[in-house]
Amino acid sequence: MKAYDLAELAVRNLRESILRNSLTTVGISVGVASLVAMLSLGIGLQQLATRRLVKSGLFDTVVVTSRRDLRNFNRSDDDNNAPAPAESPALDEPARAKISQMANVVEAYPDLRFITSFTFDSKPHLTMVAGIPASYKNNDAFEGMQGSFFSSDIAPEVILQKAFAAELLGKTAKPGSDEIAIAEIAKPLLGKEMTMRYSERVDASGSASDGVTGDTSTYSIQSHELQLKIVGITDLDPDSMRGSARARVLLPLNLMASLHAIQPTALRDTTQAASRVPTYSTVSVRVKNPTQIQSVEDAIKKMGFNTFSMLDATRSLRKFFAIVDVFLGVFGSLALAVASIGIVNTLVMAILERRREIGIMKAIGASDVDVKKLFFAEAGVMGLFGGILGVALGWTIGRVINVGTNVYLKQQSMAPEQIWFVPWWLVGGAIVFAIVVSLLSGLYPASRAARLDPVQALRYE
């Protein structure tokens, strides 16, 4: 029988016992819906996590430290055949420049930070200040920022962390009470000036840090003050990778570098015969694409530095989501498995009911294959309709859960998130899966119908 005729006959037969077949189809669609809803939530959550992490710069950043630095992220397994700390190269400006020239590296910037005192409204405040590169503008830490990012990489401007900004205003949130809204803090601060006090390292011979010769052990410290304009207040911490050494005041990186301020590591440098070029405790390397992290890391390690990246963390994260997806898929499929039993039941009932009809068809020339195909087509059509209906239903369920979650997030004063996503492959895949499951369920009834003896079937009343 031709495919079109087959489909037409199948649909007409399904219409004959419309209630039973509709219920079976609804059964399939519920199965498909649970599958789609589960997977769409799994995919949505994974995308949410990935989106957040990629934007945070964790995925595409390698943190480089010198092996001389005792406080570095020491990964002893890697370091077995590494040179002794004293022999390893210094993480200085030439090393940074070399790293930034490497393939697939977008930028390599030093981590400049120190603790210093700020004066605002003639009151002193002590805190950590750090320089951030212009590329941080796209970091999602600045997503909900009040005000604007630095106008240039050298501008005497400052972005404050919300907690520090609150401290400047003398508003400290009591534990347990609601947080102060960021806009409320930003209003009186944006555009205001504050003064930063910092210490410049000056060689005894004269100018700062340009020395070619000279005894490093003789240098003096000059105290300076710098007027800074508050341009932004940020809620989140852009620096989350650095744990306890979080900066609460952010300056443009180049401005920071030009200050030649004493770094926390400088003290140790004085005990070593270091060169006069700037030496960094940490250099952050941004890679074009998260997939290139490994090769860049390897190349930097070859130079004799320690590296750290979130690659391992992302690997296990991906694994985690793969497992979550499998679990969600299995639970979703369970409903579909139950639905497939419904198909078998419906079709077996149909054989009993249509015994005579099958006999007639065989008597007038239908082959076993024709009969088998017809029952198969009926299962397939139920699968197709069930699949389409199920995808629509699953999409709706996912959407409702998404809306519900966002209502909850809003109540908790958090930004709305898309936790649900139905990609096209899931739509197509779910419908195909529904059809395949239905066809498999139709296997037994179809072959049973095909084997029916026409003489007996015609005698059946």
Partner: protein, 225 residues
């Protein structure tokens, strides 16, 4: 399924020339329907041979038997055996679907066959909306649609009153005469058979009891007088 072996048809040997109109007569259980099913290819003999158009049905595969039923044989039954969910024209064109005939051609062939049995106007009715005679006409149209060489009729008038029965028998005779179709009819009404057929075969307990040729000639003289 625990059925004991019954010899429904036992040691019957007959030869039917092309174009003959033949009746199988006997009481119920005499094996006449079983013999018809064997010729139709609905059933297979446990031993012996059923040769139709030069092919031994006993040696054919299931698929080949289906082709035999589709192309060589047309069947009508006592209980019409129309598919209730289909309209008259859909019932008639159903064998053409199995024969994979194009839709448009199917439609014209079905209309033609229905015209032939005098049902050109009730195409879109369902079998349940038709009288018994009309249902049997539909079944006849369906049997004709593939232009088979052999028409097998199992008690075709059994569910009809005598007037409608006569109409159906006239139609069958017309097919036999105008289309040269060989007709094998099962019946237990000897009088009816004698009026139409050329040859009577009597069965009892699965065995051939009597074989009378040239019946219709004598019957036509006596029966219609």
């Amino acid at each position: 399924m625990g059925e004991s072996l019954i010899r429904a048809v036992d040691g019957i040997s007959i030869r039917v020339p092309a174009g003959e109109f033949l009746a199988l007569l006997g009481t119920s259980g005499s094996g006449k329907s079983s013999l018809l099913n064997l010729i139709a290819g609905l059933d297979r003999p446990t031993s012996g041979a059923v040769v139709v158009e030069g092919k031994d049905l006993a040696a054919l595969s299931r698929a080949e038997l289906a082709q035999h039923r589709l192309r060589t044989v047309g069947m009508v039954f006592q209980s019409f055996n129309l598919i209730p969910s289909m309209t008259v024209i859909e019932n008639v064109e159903l064998p053409l679907r199995f024969a994979e005939v194009e839709r448009s051609r199917r439609d014209s062939l079905a209309r033609e066959a229905l015209e032939r049995v005098g049902l050109g106007k009730r195409l879109d009715h369902r079998p349940t909306e038709l009288s018994g005679g009309e249902q049997q006409r539909t079944a006849l149209a369906r049997a004709l649609i593939n232009q088979p060489k052999l028409l097998l009729a199992d008690e075709p008038t059994g569910n009809l009153d005598s007037r409608t029965g006569t109409e159906i028998m006239n139609l069958i005779r017309e097919f036999n005469e105008s289309l040269g179709m060989t007709v094998v009819m099962v019946t237990h009404e000897r009088a009816l058979a004698e009026r139409y057929v050329q040859r009577l075969i009597f069965l009892a307990d699965g065995k051939l009891v009597d074989d009378q040729a040239n019946v219709a000639v004598t019957a036509a003289q006596g029966g219609r007088a």
